[in-house]
């Protein structure tokens, strides 16, 4: 029996101060050009929390505005507001920066994060009232320390400052005096990833009323590495995140493949659930501060606010077939192989048509393709184009080559089988998985029958191979086979009992 997807959740944390202090575009600029005009302009081009919440793509990310509704809005979107916008979404929520800093403190179990006393009090209520937080983490904020102590750590011991509203409110200390893998910067980035992953997992459990004790395994799929100088990428983010959410019966592991990792995790989770090794598997990925303001220079140059001003996270639950939720077709999985080659035709064949051929399906038999769902409002002004649209055009072109559609149908195909992008440019976060929540809804409401999740990753960025990577999997309506089989099985039992009684009765009359 194919496994099912039972829920998906998405979180955003609005982090304007981290754009300036932790985004690599800005930190690099500070290193090479400390008096840069751009750095001076950044603080005046950041959005307020209200603007961040009402930004239409962000409302789509947390489930309040459907992809088709977003698609009806003409670009650009940065000057538009979603009607009735809320920080609480059908599939997730949006956090303010001060609360997110509190979550970074919660994620720290080695007393490496210090928060100032008054700041701690200002966020205590919102953090400690959180139902989904494991009891042992609920009181992890502590009392806080003096600002003097924090400033001393930053000035004398290389601690990384935590800044809110332009003021230092805490710091992340180094975990070792010499080890570069445990310096304050690495610890900070890893805690950001752990915290945002935990927030997404807790949101998933709360929104879908899932008992954390039911989770057997967690697969984490971000792009960070944690370890020390002897094992730089030792891991394990997954188990650390599961601990925060009180998933006491779970273990887990991390899977990596740059932006393709979430789809790898989805496929791996499906295999684990389907085989029965781990019946309930969560996939989770936290976000990254390094990518904040990545295209900020272009945004400011073109008169836009900085649109990469939030850290994102996502989580989804894959379970054994319940006869209700959409099934993951583990027999219709695509993979870009070492020998596939890099021409667009080869890539699209390996990811899209190879799995479809196995199911005797045409390109047009997939109702919605979820590819790299990067928000074009962010990428187009930076010259990176409309990434989802480019992917849809390539899929359509292959459809024309296979004579499954006419060349003149390409534009219609991109609208009918594609979607506008809405995900923040947080690397792995936009890759295939942003549609999981809406895919579940659209399939269960009968709006669509079948979707394909496609993830691609730029392995060459790690300088180990020139290859890139990609995997895909089909999700479709659950035919309800579990119930049907159970009914058939009960009927069969009844029939057998009836036959046995008839033959017993016959033997008595003989």
């Amino acid at each position: 029996m194919f496994p099912v997807i039972k829920g998906a959740a998405y979180i955003l944390a609005h982090t304007p101060d981290m754009v300036l202090h932790n985004g690599t575009t800005q930190t690099t600029e500070r290193t090479v050009n400390p008096d840069s005009e751009y750095l001076k302009q950044v603080p005046n081009n950041l959005r307020s929390f209200e603007q961040f919440v009402s930004y239409p793509p962000n409302q789509t990310f947390i489930g309040n505005l459907s992809p088709s509704e977003l698609g009806e809005l003409d670009l650009p979107w940065y000057d538009k507001q979603a009607e009735g916008a809320s920080s609480d979404g059908k599939y997730g929520e949006i956090f303010q920066q001060d609360e997110f800093i509190g979550w970074i403190k919660l994620a720290d179990v080695f007393n490496l994060v210090s928060l100032e006393k008054d700041f701690t009090e200002s966020i205590r209520q919102s953090i400690e009232s959180r139902e989904g937080l494991s009891e042992s983490f609920r009181t992890a904020l502590g009392e806080g320390v003096s600002l003097e102590k924090i400033e001393k750590e930053i000035a004398e011991k290389g601690a990384e400052a935590l800044i809110h509203d332009g003021k230092t409110v805490g710091c992340v200390k180094r975990a070792h005096d010499i080890d570069p893998n445990l310096n304050a910067h690495v610890i900070f980035e890893n805690l950001v990833s752990k915290a945002s992953g935990a927030m997404a997992l807790i949101s998933l459990l709360e929104k879908h009323q899932i008992d954390p004790l039911d989770i057997d395994y967690v697969l984490e799929c971000s792009e960070e590495a944690c370890g020390d100088m002897n094992q730089r990428g030792g891991g394990n983010f997954a188990k650390a995140i599961a601990e925060v959410a009180g998933c006491k019966n779970a273990t887990g592991s991390d899977t990596r493949s740059f932006c393709a990792a979430p789809t790898h995790a989805l496929i791996n989770a499906s295999a684990l659930a389907q085989s029965g090794i781990y019946p309930n598997v969560v996939i989770v990925g936290g976000g990254s501060t390094a990518k904040l303001g990545m295209n900020g220079k272009d945004h400011i140059k073109k008169g836009l606010p900085i649109l990469e001003d939030g850290v994102a996270g996502f989580a989804a639950l894959i379970s054994q077939n319940d006869g209700v939720h959409p099934i993951l077709r583990t027999d219709l999985v695509g993979k870009h192989m070492v020998g596939t080659g890099s021409s667009p035709q080869a890539v699209i064949t390996s990811l899209i048509t190879a799995p479809l051929d196995r199911g005797n399906l045409k390109i047009t038999d997939i109702d919605k393709y979820s590819v790299e769902m990067q928000n074009p409002d962010v990428t187009k002004p930076a010259g990176a184009g409309d990434v989802p649209l480019a992917n849809y055009k390539m899929i359509a072109a292959l459809g024309v080559m296979r004579k499954e559609m006419e060349r003149t149908d390409i534009a219609d195909f991109t609208k009918k089988h594609g979607m506008v992008g809405w995900a923040p440019t947080q690397g792995h976060i936009p890759s295939g998985v942003p549609y999981l929540g809406f895919a579940m809804q659209d399939i269960m409401e009968g709006k669509i029958h079948r979707a394909m999740i496609v993830g691609k990753g730029s392995l060459f960025l790690g300088r180990l191979t020139n290859l890139f990577d990609g995997v895909s999997i089909v999700i479709e309506t659950n035919p309800g086979q579990v119930e049907e089989e159970a009914t058939v099985s009960k009927d069969e039992v009844r029939q057998m009992v009836a036959e046995a009684m008839r033959s017993f009765a016959a033997s008595l009359t003989e």
Binding site: C259, S342, S343, G385, G427, K456, F460
Partner: protein, 43 residues
């Protein structure tokens, strides 16, 4: 004689567009010299 014959070529490919190795392949029939070739991720 192709547009690229005897030229020195720098290739910047796009992971979500045309990757560099595919562009290199197209230039094999010319006498162009590829001096740099790299695929980049623009997101």
């Amino acid at each position: 004689m192709s547009l690229f014959d005897d030229k020195k070529i720098i290739i910047i490919g796009d992971r979500d567009g045309i990757p560099a190795p595919a562009i290199e392949e197209c230039l094999k029939g010319t006498s162009a010299e590829i001096v740099f070739s790299s695929t980049e991720c623009f997101v």
